[in-house]
């Protein structure tokens, strides 16, 4: 561990990327994510990496995908409108199975919205923003230290599952400075590469865990990468059976490892009668609210997912059997609440505390929400 020092959320993201082995950053300026780029351009060259500011967010993720195919661990970062533009290539990276990390520092939307204000309005876009059926891995930190940790995890998951991973947090976390000790060493997972001399290499034939090994361009395997439906050799096909099998495999490689990918922190949930479901900055408000309402004798707890997708439905379902009520607090007009309702499956009452006015949800608000909801009854 290094010395504790004051680090901004966006800086922690850049440092986490470097710790994870990122050697390529391509991005386009946008508030409130620009500091990530500004740190990357200072940090990457000394780490042997390359930085490029592209002409837009579409190009940014394209360059990242290109760099990843060249063997680099690569990342881009953006916010709301830029995240919309990146959906095209999130789909491409998913289909072509190119590992990469996309950071979305959420701001008020839709459209240009509230550029300097926080929001959690992109969590469904992060799941379903690109067209077609596809899996999604979306991580949501709620502190500066966790931004670092989950950035590392995002790279590791991307490499392990050969898929884009989205790291999503709101403007407050991006711009908050906290005193943290960033680890010097982190666990790093690298993509599986085929043996250099492997005969009849098939770039899209499932390897361990349904994930095909991925060589780098220029390393001796001449292969084809396409966003079209393709066969195990990676070449386009319109054979429905082949196309269906491809999508199933791409879906399953994530779905089958949901337990490994999904993660939710619980806080004082053991005896709770009312549970908050909150993520990102709201997770911190909810934690404080739990402590405050417990002082008032109300048994509250918290489920704070750090993986939004695949949705940690099992944890929610377990909690729902135990508590009477789940209060879903999110800075949007109701996005993950639908997932919570589905997971709770009627076992607990699910109510929302929703806000989309550019202001973060405060602990006091949530204390009020508990009492308004009738405490633990």
């Amino acid at each position: 561990m290094s010395e504790a020092r004051l680090v901004q959320g966006n800086e922690a993201c850049a440092r986490g990327a470097l710790a994870a082995g990122c050697t390529f950053y391509g991005g386009y300026p946008i508030t409130p994510s620009s500091e990530i780029a500004e740190h990357m351009v200072r940090l990457l060259p000394d780490a042997g990496g390359v930085f490029v500011q592209m002409e837009d967010e579409i190009a940014s993720l394209a360059a990242v995908i290109g760099a990843s195919l060249a063997g680099s661990k690569a990342m881009t970062a953006t916010s709301g409108p830029g995240f919309s533009l990146m959906q095209e290539h999130i789909g491409f990276a998913t289909m072509a199975e190119v590992p990469c990390v996309v950071v979305d520092v959420m701001r008020g939307g839709p459209s240009t919205g509230l550029p300097t204000s926080p929001s959690q309005g992109d969590v469904m876009q992060a799941r379903w923003g690109t067209h077609g059926d596809h899996p999604a891995i979306v991580l949501a930190p709620s502190s500066v230290g966790e931004v670092f940790d989950l950035t590392v995890r995002a790279f590791n998951l991307a490499e392990r599952f050969r898929t884009p991973v989205i790291l999503i947090y709101d403007e407050v976390i991006g711009h908050t400075r906290e005193s943290v000790r960033l680890p010097d060493q982190v666990e790093i997972i690298d993509r599986v590469r085929p043996a250099p001399d492997s005969v009849d290499f098939r770039p899209k034939a499932a390897g361990p865990n349904g994930v095909p090994p991925l060589p780098a361009f220029g390393d001796g395997h001449r292969f084809h990468v396409t966003g079209l439906s393709h066969d195990e050799r990676g070449f386009p096909t319109d054979d429905g059976a082949v196309a269906g099998a491809l999508l199933s495999r791409i879906h399953s490689k994530v779905a089958d490892h949901e337990d490994e990918i999904s993660a939710a922190e619980t806080f004082m949930l053991d005896d709770a009668e009312v549970a908050f479901f909150a993520y990102g900055i709201v997770g911190r408000s909810a934690r404080e609210a739990v402590l405050r309402v417990r002082e008032a004798g109300i048994k509250a707890g918290l489920i704070r997912p750090t993986t939004l997708w695949p949705f940690p439905g099992r944890q929610v379902a377990v909690a729902a059997k135990q508590v009477d009520k789940v209060i879903v607090a999110e800075m949007n007009l109701g996005q993950l609440i639908g997932e919570v309702e589905r997971a709770a499956a009627g076992q607990a009452e699910v109510v929302g505390h929703l806000r989309a006015d550019g202001e973060p949800i405060t602990p006091s608000e949530l204390v009020g929400a508990v009492t308004a909801a009738g405490g633990g009854n």
Binding site: V41, V50, H221
Partner: protein, 272 residues
């Protein structure tokens, strides 16, 4: 010189392109250029977008990336910056490169990143069924301009020169020897090289505008060019006019060649 089929994924042939489509000629000319250059086949990466021309990358035996519509120069930029030892080339079309991908093309040119872009201009959107492109000449019929195109069309080479490309050339599919030579020159050029290759679309452009099939369009193409030496035959005539003497819409050959600093990304500078 090796057989160009050395560089072909023969098992994937025949390709999807229509009978008489000059894109196939360009594909061959491109492979001949690679052969002239004697590049390490494993170190050649070819990136394409979406469209008829972009389908070429499925048939050529290099590291090939068939990306998204118009974005090939951006994918290629990432590849090249991350792996400067690769020879990175882009095959794009006029709709792909100049309409949806215009932004990426001009910025790759402006940066002078060391990639080679081959833009196959057939004056129309072929794959989607013959809609008007930014290169469709005024008056020409397309499925979205049934009464004739009323928009002006791009001159891709002028656009690229304006954007700062350090090597700009135009060649004809009808002149495959010159085409290969210029492509090879473009690949050798340190920095961004852009080669517009005049191709054709007999299936849509030819049919809609009643200019005949692939053979007709190829010879017609040859005749439109002032600088090309007798490229083709219908076994009758060829009129050759010195290029300076006749104002024609298209000038072929290398139109811009300049040595400028090459962009390699923001990275640690290796000691010289």
């Amino acid at each position: 010189m090796a057989d160009v089929k050395t560089y072909l994924r023969e098992w994937a042939m025949p390709h999807v392109l229509c009978p008489g489509c000059a894109h196939g000629i360009v594909m061959r000319g491109f492979l001949a250029a690679i052969d002239q250059l004697q590049l390490d086949q494993d170190k050649v990466a070819v990136v394409a977008g979406i469209g008829c021309s972009s389908r070429i990358v499925g048939y050529i035996d290099f590291c090939t990336l068939h990306g998204t519509h118009g974005r090939a120069p951006a994918f290629a930029s990432g590849l090249k910056l991350a792996r400067p030892d690769l020879h990175v080339m882009v095959i794009t079309g006029d709709g792909d490169g100049l309409a949806i991908g215009g932004n990426h093309l001009i910025h790759a040119a402006r940066r002078n990143i060391d990639i080679t872009v081959m833009l196959l201009n057939n004056s129309i959107y072929g794959m989607t069924g013959g809609q008007a492109a930014p290169t469709t000449p005024e008056g020409a019929v397309a499925s979205t301009t049934p009464a004739g195109n009323t928009e002006p069309n791009f001159d891709a080479c002028k656009l690229m020169i304006g954007a700062g490309a350090s090597f700009v050339a135009r060649v004809l599919a009808a002149n495959p020897i010159e085409m290969s030579k210029v492509i090879a020159d473009g690949v050798r050029h340190p920095g961004f090289s852009f080669i517009e290759i005049i191709s054709d679309c007999p299936e849509y452009y030819g049919r809609y505008n009643k200019v005949g099939g692939g053979a007709d369009m190829l010879t017609w193409m040859a005749r439109r060019d002032a600088g090309v030496a007798v490229p083709l035959s219908e076994k009758k005539f060829v009129e050759h006019v010195p290029s300076s003497a006749v104002p024609l819409g298209m000038t072929t050959g290398v139109l811009e060649r300049d040595i400028r600093p090459v962009f390699t990304g923001v990275r640690r500078q290796e000691p010289l």
